[in-house]
Amino acid sequence: MRSNASLSRLGSSAAILFLAAGLAGCGGSAKSGGAAETPGTDPILIGHFGSMTGSEATFGQSTDNGIRLAIKEFNAAGGLKGKKVELKTYDDQGKGQEAGTAVTRLITSDKVVAVLGEVASSLSIAGGRVAQQYGVPMISPSSTNPQVTEVGDMVFRVCFLDPFQGWVAAKFARENLKAEKAAILYDQAQAYSKGLMDAFDKAFKEMGGTITTVQAYTGGDQDFSAQLTTIRQTNPEVIFVPGYYTDAGNVSIQVRKLGLTAPLLGGDGWDSVKLAEIGGSSIEGSYFTNHYSHQNPAPQVQNFVSTYKADYGQTPDGLAALGYDAARLLFDAMGRAPALDGKSLAAAIAATKDFAGVTGTISIDAQRNAKKAAVVLEMKNGVPAYVTTIEPPQ
């Protein structure tokens, strides 16, 4: 087994060397790059790092499913100039140090041409630093914290940002829920949660609302009674909980246990089937902002939903849709790039305009971010139901 594995690794690195030599020989001038001239059987390898296990396991698994579906369709349609694309996935267990290691391994030992990942912003930042250092383009499907793409010119994303998402949540709370007073309970250990909290806090106040109290917890905490008792005393009409789904589920149980009836409001970190499993009846009637709704009747979305269901036997969540979009956007850029080295590929990704994804139309801006609309979903009978779409301010 051992010798086999190392043999195949030797083989693949030899192939990459050969490919690199071909590219170097052709230079950047020739349109018929090395990739097209050697239509060998070696696949093009792309990497994915994600939380396949741990408290945010559905994040990594959904994203991976979405990416794999995109690859399957892309290869079935002929691949990149006759070459198949293959995916290598490493589990980072939702831990920062593992994320860095996973990306290093993808780039240095597997020699991937591009990296996809992560969902959690703090992990995308950790992985992005490594990708930037080696000059390999990375696309985060769903990290919404602004700092993610500030890492460098190799890091992109296909989703909206937290300042926008927080603004959407605030707008929804003010205009649709008619809330005057909101309380916040956020995860102090996550850059994502903190960023969303700041954005909501700012936007809600600007829209004339009052933030009654801001409370914090640490991801994985089981007891929120102290924070929730304080929140109860301030009598808010809505409670903003911009954490991840496991914690949000646990928070909802204790919120109802304490007799608070105000709806909870969350971000895209809530997007998981586990939210309803853990929260049960406590999470019913709460809202969260998300990237897409599987109930969107657009044919492209419905096609994606039905093929995904056929392959994986479940309804795709927003993270699966974003994984799918990120991979397809990457293939689109690979098709346009003169060569598959980091610089050319990054330039091609950066030039993406009006790419039609299932999560909306994606144009990459100068900060390597995507500007898109957000949807608000309500938990009804254990399923997130579409409520409204909120467009970015002009």
């Binding site: 408290s55 396991a57 914090a216 917890y217 007891d223 102290a226 589920g249 853990i278």
Partner: protein, 300 residues
């Protein structure tokens, strides 16, 4: 009220640490994993019995049944761990046993994460009793679940106290902890006593796991860092009470529970872990042998 409930759970776990320390003079780092196992076995049985479905009202005996089953399972695991991992090292230096304990702990955590055990996903423990608010006074809500948890824990501690101070086996345990070789000379079967200690500690940890899952139904995956922290706090409780001292562990557990909950409620919830460990430092500085470490000379 949360303080009483959580504190009594810490006490249950702390008892296991303290009993093993009393008999073998080493810290059983795998003990907190037995506690996690207890919570997850409870979940598995409850789901297996079909209580997970919405709208099912489990009968009153369901909780007792699951509690006993979880205790039995963990007791068996505790026995096996002692038999396979610690007994061969009975004559080895302390440090070897300690490192073995860490190894056992990692083993249990990672086996627990396997697909065919508990997996790596958080799960929802089915609620076995309707959670109602029994009484309110001065802003304090008394929940049935908290009361049941504290009550069960207290009952188990009373049984344990009786077992150790009123039975033959208890006397043997105290003898072994006092002086192992003399106890052996007096005809006490030392290996049997040690096995019994492990089984007893593990069943208590399992009970704590079950009660914890009742109180906080969103179970984190078996190797999650929060479990380790809970185990550590229980260990702190054992040290504060005076390690090796049964009644000290009970007192320490309740104390830690109160400090944590009151600190979180009246000072700041962000620093809850800091209160616990600050108290540990304080106690170690003022009374290195624990609050009851000297007051009660009898060790088990």
């Amino acid at each position: 009220m949360d303080g009483v409930a959580v504190g009594s759970l810490y006490a249950l776990i702390a008892l296991g640490y303290t009993m093993v320390y009393g008999t073998l003079q080493f810290i059983n780092f795998a003990h907190s994993d037995i506690f996690v196992l207890g919570a997850w076995v409870s979940y598995t049985i409850a789901v297996g019995l079909g209580y997970a479905l919405a709208g099912t009202h489990p009968p009153l005996y369901a909780g007792v049944l699951i509690l006993v089953a979880a205790m039995a399972t963990c007791g068996a695991v505790g026995f096996t761990v002692e038999r396979l991992a610690y007994r061969p090292l009975r004559k080895a230096p302390r440090l070897n046993v300690l490192i073995t304990a860490i190894g056992v702990s990692l083993f249990l955590q990672n086996v627990g994460q396997l697909k065919w055990f508990f997996g790596t996903q958080p799960q929802r423990m089915p609620s076995l009793i309707e959670d109602t608010i029994l009484a309110r006074f001065a802003g304090v809500q008394v929940h049935l679940v908290d009361l049941a948890a504290a009550g069960t824990a207290l009952l188990l501690m009373l049984v344990l106290d009786w077992l150790i101070f009123r039975t033959r086996m208890g006397r043997a345990m105290r003898a072994v902890s006092h002086d192992t070789s003399v106890a052996a000379l007096m005809g006490v079967n030392v290996d049997a006593v040690i096995s019994f200690t492990f089984v007893l500690g593990s069943t208590l940890a399992a009970a704590a796991g079950f009660l914890y899952a009742m109180k906080y139904p969103g179970l984190n995956q078996p190797a999650h860092a929060t479990w380790v922290l809970l185990g550590l706090k229980a260990f702190v409780a054992a040290v504060i009470g005076g390690i090796g001292n049964i009644r000290g562990a009970m007192l320490g557990g309740i104390l830690i529970g109160f400090i944590e909950m009151f600190g979180a409620a009246y000072l700041s919830p962000h620093l809850r872990d800091i209160y616990v460990f600050s108290i540990l430092i304080l106690v170690l500085l003022v009374r290195p042998s624990g609050v009851l470490g000297k007051a009660v000379a009898e060790k088990v």
